[in-house]
């Protein structure tokens, strides 16, 4: 399978080796302490921190007295371990204090706690995930990081009673095929059939998301898949089947593809952002910012 996927990436213009890895990154939890205070505490323990220029609260971390996941500061909720690219969708969503935000596939909750931090614990985050086993991690993260404005449900986001609420912003971090950068066994586990199956489920979730979004609201659709079927082709489907507009994302990564395996897509799709591991030094990622007119 490895060669099949690498050949697909070659056809999309990227000569990947299949063994790219990412640097360990953390996100400061500004709900509990300032970035400066937390950085000071970690540096006092010998950690080397490098700001990630395209993230508000993200830093690369190396060294230190203890591992990043077993320090007083981690246990006290002052930061979370979150890969750099995985922090970017909430930056694009840019939730504001007092808003109503839906996090549709929320567990294990890294992005949910990030949304709450951006909102300063004011307003409401409705977090939904269908998998009870992953929601335990979300609950722990909410408790550890001091989130107080979240309600979390174990449900399919499409089947939940929202009481008529339409949301200001929705984050759809869709279940996807993932990518090999954060999973050494990825090539052994995946085949193209998975990609196509995931793409269908993602389209269903996209339809649900648009139904819950208020007019003028923002939907951020994101995956950690490098496969265009789950990324650009889903956005193309969205443009063809729903009344939506794309907002241009100016940031890390590169414009999304508009030529995919011989198929030409709308030039609008290039407003989305794609993270190639060889370019960004992160895992593979895709982010689209959709506005409901």
């Amino acid at each position: 399978m490895k060669e099949i996927f690498l050949e697909r990436y070659r056809r999309l213009g990227h000569e990947l080796m299949g063994d790219e890895r990412t640097r360990r990154a953390i996100r400061i939890n500004t709900l509990l302490e300032s970035r400066e205070a937390v950085v000071g505490k970690l540096e006092a323990r010998g950690a080397k921190l490098t700001p990630i220029p395209w993230l508000r609260d993200g830093l690369y971390i190396e060294g230190g007295e203890s591992s990043a996941g077993a320090s007083f500061e981690y246990l006290l909720g002052l930061y979370s371990i979150q890969e750099a690219a995985a922090q970017y969708p909430v930056e694009v969503l840019a939730p504001e204090t007092g808003e109503l935000v839906l996090d549709m596939c929320a567990a294990p909750g890294g992005k949910t706690t990030q949304v709450a931090a951006w909102m300063g614990n004011r307003g409401v985050v409705v977090a939904v995930d269908v998998r009870r086993d992953r929601l335990y991690a979300l609950e722990n993260n909410l408790e550890r990081t001091g989130v107080e404005n979240c309600v979390a449900y174990c449900a399919d986001a499409g089947g939940l009673d929202y009481g008529g609420t339409l949301f200001d912003r929705i984050l759809l971090d869709a279940p996807c095929s993932g990518n090999y950068v954060t999973d050494r066994e990825w090539f052994k586990k995946r085949d193209i059939g998975d990609v196509e199956k995931n793409a269908m489920e993602q389209r269903r979730l996209l339809g649900t998301a648009l139904g819950q979004l208020r007019q003028g609201g923002t939907l951020v659709y994101t995956t950690c898949s490098l496969e265009p079927e789950e990324d650009e082709l889903n956005v193309q489907w969205l443009l063809e089947n729903h009344d939506v507009k794309l907002s241009e994302i100016n940031g890390p990564g590169c414009p999304a593809l508009t030529e995919v395996f011989g198929r030409s897509l709308s030039p609008e799709v290039a407003k989305c952002r794609r993270f190639w591991p060889d370019e960004t030094g992160t895992q593979g990622f895709f982010v689209a910012k959709v506005v409901k007119p």
Partner: protein
Amino acid sequence: MRELKDFLTAVGASYEPVGVRMNLNDRRFVVAPEVAAQIHDKGRLVYAGKLLGRTRGEFIPSAGLLRELGKMQGPNKVWVDEKVGWLFACGRDVFAESMLKAEGELAEDACFLVMLGGDCLGYGRVETAEGRTILRNVFDVGDFLRRERGIEWDR
């Protein structure tokens, strides 16, 4: 919430949660009104607002409640150094001679927050064992690591 009151009495704290009280299985929450207004499907709710703690025979406060109590004047507190603090976060008890400072009387059965500087690492109950006074660990923030074992990390 009788159990919460008992805990607050044991730790010598005065605290009144503000918001809508809510129970989910053994967990006790307080929810701001605007957050509570978005609860429409209680049957599938797993978390809401601020977790105060869990009732497992006795009330075990959440990390968030301990964080708040740790910043208040009044509750019983003992301060420890980093080494003792780390052992405590690994589930160990604290011996009286390892305490840097105590606020409150180390009386049998009294509860004390364990402080590392301005941060609360958990709490324990005073016991006497073989003539030595110890603070028996009841809850510590290392519990998060113990819970995370076997739970998937964020990407």
